[in-house]
Amino acid sequence: MIFDSLNIAASSLRTQQKAIDVVSHNIANVNTPGYSRQAGNMVTSTPGQAGVLNFGRGVEMQSVQRMINPVISQAQINNGTQLSYWTSMNSGLSSVENVFGSLQSTGLASALDDFFISWKQLANNPQDNGQRVNVRAKSSSLVTSLNNMHAQLQTVQANTDSNIDQAITSANLLLNDIAKLSTEIARQEAGRPGGAGAANDLRDQREQAVRNLAKLIPVQNVATGDASFMLQTQNGDLLTQDGVANQLARGAAVGGGFSSVVMAGSGSPALSASQGGQIGGLLDLRDNKIGNYIQQVDSIAANLIFSVNQVHASSSGSVNHVTLTGEQSSRVALPLDDVTQIAPFAANIQSGSFNIHVYDAAGAAVVPGGTAVAITAGVTSMNDVATALNAVAGITSTVDATGRLTINAVAGQSFALAGDTSNFLAAYEINNFFQGGGAGSLGLSAAIQTSVNGINTGQTDPLTSVNQAGDSRSALAILALQDAPLSVDGTSSLSLHNRTTSLSVQYGTDVSTSKQQNDYRTVEATSIETQRQAISGVNVDEELISMIKFQRAYEASAKIITTTNQMLDSLLGLIR
């Protein structure tokens, strides 16, 4: 029986040593992300029976358990998905902050104001070429501002798209890790039911990997009933099960020319932009937020270009034209407003006419009142226009290989264009002020870039064909566009200033919403992490106390061995 004490003390030594190993492991991993504190589950050894008495046989370590709460773990996964979505959104929106200006430099808003004020100054002094120089300078500044906004937004959009690639790569690596960990866990736990051989650290690693994956793409853990581990997208596509990992990939191009994110095998959409996760946030940022800003900037540019050109194309300047070439090409034989025409505003052409006034060398009108050139929507082609112009005395007209119309006055004569009710001149950028169809392609007309004399301020008299140097009617009409509601592209009718400020407000609201949500999700993350730490976190003081407790038990067990040894000595001494 005396040996039983030795065996019991030995079992205690072994068990306390193992318990101290667990404490040591906890302290070692006090700062390891995703680590769940472990505790040895000590149980009494199976008792022995001596006669009618049951005698304990010591202690043994039945299992080592992780301290976890699955509800909190799931909450962390959900929170991680939402937090990453709003973090990527907020950080992406912050990266375009400079595009929208600041009070120090209000960007597009002040460029637009300066543009219209320069027209006001020209309208009030139309004979002053210095004012024309000023209009050209302010217009160039506005063009640069819109071009830069467009380019910067497009750059950020492209960078966001690249970030999606990186996130997909990270997600695929995590999926591989999870699959490998699942295989390893299954191998380690095989044949050890009841948690006795639970692969605690590997499970922690897998949960951490799942949390990291959930930050990239929304996932759902599916209970299989056979203890296997299955992870799906929110759309129900299998991401990983046990040792199998299905990869994410790029799909076909969606709106804006960028591609979606799909499951590599099936090609089905892996997620939508609104579902969350970093990839969802980047998709939303790329397609909806920045994509929308680009559309709005394009819309501002389109309304500016066409509205100004509508006025300018029917106007006269300080000198009459000797030659004019359209800046938009055409499919010469097709109707000017055909849907296949390349000119961005071809669809705005309607039935109407424009007048061409021809002047002799002395500047007198050849035909007072000019000659009308009729345009019929759906019928008149660029070739028809050239033919009609060639029938006007003193005018020759040609269409080049790209479908651009050129109008020439015969030697010694000149001409002016006026009264375009068809929008033909504005749509094909003849006698235009701006060129292009959106913020990216916006530019000043080639003629105005060459000479400020190309800036028109007045209107040719429809009866006498006379142009007056001090006539400012066209300049005033362009100035009137400043606060006029415009909608040449089918968007809501708003003034250019309102469009610009609305864009700033929308951006500000988007940032504010993303910041608010990001703050809320961060606080939520802190709270959930606190709850997780309360259960799974390591408290060094607690571990040290446990260590002392196990150390004391170890010392006591050792004392039993010493005492038992002494008892054996005593016993053996009787024999000697």
Partner: protein
Amino acid sequence: MRISTSMLYNNLLTGINKQQNIQNLGNAKVASGTRFQTPAEAGLDYKVSLDLRHSQLNVQSSIDAIATVESRLGMSQTLLNDMSNVMRRAQAVAVQQSSAQISNAERQAGLQEMTHLANQFLSDSNQQWQGQALFAGTAVDKQAFTDDGLGNISYTGSAQDRIVSVSANQQLVSNIRGDNPAFAAAFTALQGFKTALATNDVAAMQSSLGALSSAGNGMIDLTADAGARLNAVQVSKVSFEDMKLNLDQRLNTHEAVDVAAVVAELQQSSIALQAAYSQVAQVKSLSLINFLR
């Protein structure tokens, strides 16, 4: 609740981050003097700032436009005043010359003066201001009146006024046009009197008196019209200057930061930050490790 070691440090770190954020924002506000700088900080407030600045620029451009009108009308008024003086002198000469006591030689001297006066009137009528004809309407690059050499003066300007846009709803005529009947009446009266002098026709001279007087009144009326328009423009200018002042004040009130409030917040945050720093040091020393040596 069970506390883990990480929780102690995480909570302090969160607090420090929060206070540092308050310090950073407060410093930016104090440095810029404004409550916000970008649309990201305050979307709607930023829009109001853009609207106010938009209005400010427009009001300033309206004041500039009014200055243009003032300048043109002022110069026109000066010349019309000079033309009225010419007409007054012509009337005085007419009164003097229509006397039966005046000799032919004296009338020839009077004719010379009248020729000078008529030339002066024509010169005033064709006067340019900043290289632009004042009385030619929008045909600013042309002479307002031409003389056919026979003493017949005709208007060669345009029938269109020079419009100045002051604001979206206010456009002002900035010129006096030469096709106003007062000019034609003055030229006709001056020419009629010159002819009467040249032909020593006393009866015609006496009848010219009435025409000169009527034409002179016409020029005075035109001068008064220019003056009245100038006065109206100046009233409008005062109104725009008041608007400008108002907008300046509104913009300042809208954007300016409440420095006292921000400084108080900074001070409070600074105390909290110091306390958090001190607590980090204390948590470090409050560990069982320190008592197990």
